[in-house]
Symmetry: C2
Subunit: 327 residues, 2 copies
């Protein structure tokens, strides 16, 4: 295929542990494809999934990938995980560029030689997109399991951490999200009957149940912990189990109060992390991701304006980055 327009069509794939997302971009045309694929269940199938989402998204002159899948415990180390993902990418997509945590697009060969520089780099794509539009801002990307909180200063990504570990320590990665977060990891106790009830540390309910019950969820985009329906009624039963109870022992009001408390704890965690970043008073918050509503609520708590960004999500942002600065 030869380029027929000024700008080439680009394809970017964000290879996560639970989802694979592709974005195809040609001029103003953007097509995105998302496929649930839990890499820890069947890493071998990754190349096939990449082939599928690439075919569905569209043919392109240039292809780039970024990843977070290497953290999955399907791999003993990040080095092993990165090598596996790169091999699957090459197998499925041929010659691709790989995003680094410094924001560069490097060759497969370079990526292989520097695996820790391309591990968990997908947040950089979104951050670069924000920096291109808002020279001073705070990106808050609340996803299904994690939240990225990235300061942008003087048109540059001003994150102090690059690896996941550094970013956790810096308050730039908060491991809480709107779908898959285990409620037992959000708070050690919940309010109940005038006191505090410690929680059961099982995987009985997840944040999607909380957000569903509170009417804050657009789509329950992951399996339910108990395999039962993703409805408010069943979500309440899952939440009741968090305190070793059931819907017979707890009233609807009691369960919903637990949900409201846990949502508040998630908000508090993201807000605390956001407050660690000093920014000019006029710098807006740019909320993106499945939990953008949470980002907007944090912006209100911080007393900051909210700004939008053209490329929502790492795959689209990376496709734009690959298309070049004119895009």
């Amino acid at each position: 295929m030869t380029p027929t327009t000024r700008m080439p069509a680009t394809l970017a794939i964000d290879i996560g542990g639970a989802n694979t997302k592709a974005a195809w971009l040609h001029g103003d045309s953007l097509r995105t494809v998302s496929r649930p694929f839990e890499v820890w269940r069947d890493p071998v199938a990754l190349a096939a999934v990449l082939r599928e989402v690439a075919a569905e998204a569209g043919a392109a002159e240039a292809v780039a990938v970024t990843m977070t899948a290497e953290l999955s415990d399907a791999f003993r180390s990040k080095r092993e995980g990165v090598a596996f993902v790169l091999a699957a990418a090459e197998d499925a997509l041929g010659d691709v560029r790989v995003l680094t945590t410094a924001g560069d697009l490097v060759s497969l060969e370079t990526a292989r030689a520097r695996p820790l520089d391309v591990a968990a780099a997908n947040w950089v794509a979104t951050a670069l997109a924000v920096a291109g539009e808002h020279p001073d801002a705070l990106l808050i990307d609340v996803g299904s399991t994690t939240a990225d909180i990235v300061p942008i200063a003087g048109g540059r990504v001003a994150a102090s951490g690059r690896t996941d570990l550094e970013r956790l320590l810096a308050g730039e990665l908060v491991y809480t999200g709107v779908l898959r977060t285990n409620l037992a990891a959000i708070a050690p106790r919940v309010p109940l009957r005038g006191g505090w009830c410690p929680v059961a540390s099982e995987q009985f309910a997840i944040s999607a149940d909380v957000h569903l019950v509170l009417g804050r969820l657009e789509a329950y985009g992951c399996p339910t912990p108990d395999g039962r329906p993703a409805t408010v009624e069943f979500a309440r039963e899952r939440i009741a189990r968090l305190v070793c109870a059931d819907a017979e022992q707890l009233g609807v009001g009691e369960i919903d109060a637990i949900a409201a408390f846990l949502y508040g704890e998630q908000l508090r965690q993201v807000e605390e992390a956001a407050r660690r970043h000093a920014l000019p008073p006029a710098a807006p918050v740019v909320p993106v991701g499945a939990g953008a509503a949470m980002g907007r609520e944090v912006a209100a708590r911080l007393g900051r304006e909210v700004a939008e960004v053209r490329w929502n999500g790492p795959a689209a942002a990376l496709a734009a980055l690959l298309a070049g600065p004119q895009c």
Copy 2:
């Protein structure tokens, strides 16, 4: 089989969510059988498992069961879970007695009519055994996922909670244990490099990894979260993942310090719950369970003597209870 001795042979089965334990008792002869069986994976197979452990333990004139399996999210409610477990027990074992949270042994018919009275009753068996030997004491039973902390006063079980929910609220059930507890639910952050690192709320590592690394584990009696070996080397890799790192990014000393901190947090949680119970100064702690070493350490922190109990574990205690007061 007809009774040939003064005391009948008894069989008791403790049906948990992850393990089924049987005890056969005849006079001074005690035989125990434990079978890992995760009821949430295949509830239908429960009757077959009960038949197997009963056959392995031995024939008896009287059979009793107790359970915690009803909390599993294989069941929508405790009522449904209890009914299922009782049906499997009747199918496999015929006419059995069922322990209530009040300490009574009731018929299947009564148990069916009062499901919430027989749900999660297994701690009562151990508590009654302790009460029979130590009129004033604090039972601390640290198991694979939970710890029971039960005050005994004047030879009676002086617990203020009976259901799991009441016991959580009363500090009589602490949802932490030496094997299956998700590390992300033990503490929201761990010490690292002079600061605090928030943890990844995934199921990357469990308390068995912590206790293994610290040399405190007799047996890693559950599956590893990543399916890799239950060795110190692999346990360290799992713990490193708790802060989104791997064994290349963290040193052994750093990983072991995280493990020591998390063990300390578990101890603190059990100690805090134990301190909620006022007891005479001379009342000993009776530590039992797979984590009896933790119970002994808590006793030392409380400045209390440690006492033993003849029947270690709910199944053995229930078999003795069934054999009658003379036992």
